[in-house]
């Protein structure tokens, strides 16, 4: 069923039918009703491609997700995308997903822009010296950063959480409990959020006059196994840390397993504070919850980023946002052992 057929069926011109269905004012109310009824009856839906071509809008937002080493796909992306996709769907936009090896990322954006496949994109996890920001600016493709850029990369719209602040608070919380040897299990070093979290941690340590031990800081992909392995090493040390900060609940689960395997108890022998993205399949449940966390919902972030990029596409002014994390006390922390 095409617009033309529908128009013929109603003995009207395609113009009128198009206007009626798109809510333009210059159509008789009665005619409009007739057209809408017929469209609905015959299940007419405009051909997206034709409409896109005619309007020049792709009606789609792109998400390029890079495969890390080991084909690792961050489950956090998935959660974020869910939040975002819901928003797009609601306004008739499509979500276009491009999965590429990390080195192909720039080409992916370039292609999207040149082929006019999307009206805007979301850029995940900006890194140090990230080339994507400059590229997208040049390409003139509207974009929203999820995570603040590192350094000064010109004015771009981003949504981030207060990573430094959250980790400063978390560290302070542990210090207040009497901990002195505090380890940090962070995400990949060059990524913006990891840098900020580390900075927050170091600030708190410094303010308390505590030295940071480089061997108690690890940067790695946030998998359960990585968390486990690192924590196992730490637990074996004579001067083992009495508290650990982790950047993801996934690593935290690994750490938690290592602690037990070492015959120790979380919250008594070793304290743990983790960042919690509120992954739907790994919720930090219980009352009090299992882990002490700094919390910020990743799917809410996806939701908001989607709204922001849509506003950007619509030409509305958009302000960057930086959200607070919430410190939630759970059962994984306690006073430092004597």
């Amino acid at each position: 069923m095409t617009l033309k057929e529908l128009a013929e069926m109603l003995s009207l011109s395609p113009t009128t039918v198009s206007r009626a269905l798109n809510g333009y004012p210059e159509v008789n109310a009665e005619t409009r009703a007739r057209i809408e009824a017929a469209a609905h009856k015959h299940g007419y839906q405009p051909n997206t491609m034709a409409r896109k071509l005619a309007t020049g809008k792709a009606m789609a937002v792109g998400h390029v997700i890079p495969l890390g080493e080991h084909q690792m796909i961050n489950p956090i992306f998935a959660e974020f995308m869910t939040g975002a996709s819901e928003v797009y769907s609601k306004v008739g936009y499509e979500t276009i997903l491009t999965v590429v090896p990390e080195q192909g990322e720039e080409d992916a954006y370039r292609d999207l822009a040149r082929r006019h496949s999307v009206d805007g994109v979301i850029v995940h996890a900006p890194r140090t010296g990230d080339p994507r920001i400059k590229l997208l600016t040049e390409l003139g493709l509207p974009f929203v950063l999820h995570g603040r850029p590192v350094g000064d990369d010109g004015p771009s719209v981003c949504l981030d959480i207060k990573n430094a602040r959250a980790f400063r608070q978390a560290t302070q919380f542990l210090i207040d409990l009497g901990h002195r040897r505090i380890a940090l299990l962070n995400g990949l070093e060059q990524i913006s959020f990891a840098l900020r979290r580390r900075a927050g941690y170091e600030q708190a340590m410094e303010r308390a006059g505590l030295a940071t031990d480089p061997s108690l800081i690890a940067h790695q992909e946030m998998t359960e196994t990585n968390g486990y392995d690192t924590a196992v090493d730490w637990m074996r040390r004579a001067d083992r840390p009495t508290a650990i900060l982790t950047s993801s609940i996934i690593s935290a689960i690994g750490v938690s397993r290592a602690v037990r395997d070492a015959g120790l108890e979380l919250g008594r022998d070793v304290s743990l504070v983790t960042h919690d993205d509120d992954l739907s399949f790994l919720r930090n449940e219980g009352d009090p919850p299992r882990f002490t966390t700094v919390f910020s919902s990743i799917s809410a972030a996806g939701h908001r980023c989607a709204e922001m990029v849509l506003d950007l596409i619509a030409g509305k002014p958009v302000e960057s946002e930086v959200w607070d994390c919430k410190l939630i006390e759970g059962r994984s922390t306690g006073p430092a052992p004597a």
Copy 2:
């Protein structure tokens, strides 16, 4: 840069340029080279929308993923999609993601079909009496099922693993170790794979002359917390199971935590066999690995499903496939306690 501009620049007709770039034979080799060079130099990429409209092909595959209750998004989908997206990208297809509340799923497919946004779709996790199969057949939209349909829903192409066989083997493995009280922690009841896994489990039990205790069978969304909560209950019972089967490594992690919290040890007091989809961020690592599993890579499945749907779109004949799972012995199983 449009085709026309490029053609003018070269003093050629759009026809010739189009043919040259799309590899049609009726173009002088020399001319073709000239055209290709110019296209590359000016970074010409055909406008996707125009091309789609002209050819009538959307050059895209759709994945509709339903949000379960509690906004649960299955991380397994994410991993599957990664495998699939890579394949699409390689042949210049796009991945279109639609996230909808469960009840909106049918409309989502209907819209995709009527608007010609995609050339084909992947259907995830068919359920009992799944309306999607009939719908897509009616709509004439090529599709590949990930998971076998329940009952006879006409001829459709699917990719599945031998769920019943895997769980029969896993159960038999436990029985051979002397276990008698074996619990099953399964996925949501109406989903195809859960039904088959349960059937396999029951067959093995029956063959061994063992009664299945309905209170030792649970169907639920596969989250860590669900796994934990259920296992906690089981561990508290006087007649607690000595072995547990789980449908996902995520639940297995929850179970594992519950077992320890009960002061028991996995592989000694309680044995556990889980299905392992090989999630990249929750790999079952170690030597021997942490869990005894029935293994099948979900991203490989995504990869293959993508190839299948592309073949289907291309009009090639496609056969359904059912893959074997591999039983891998890890540290989570041992002889039944006396």
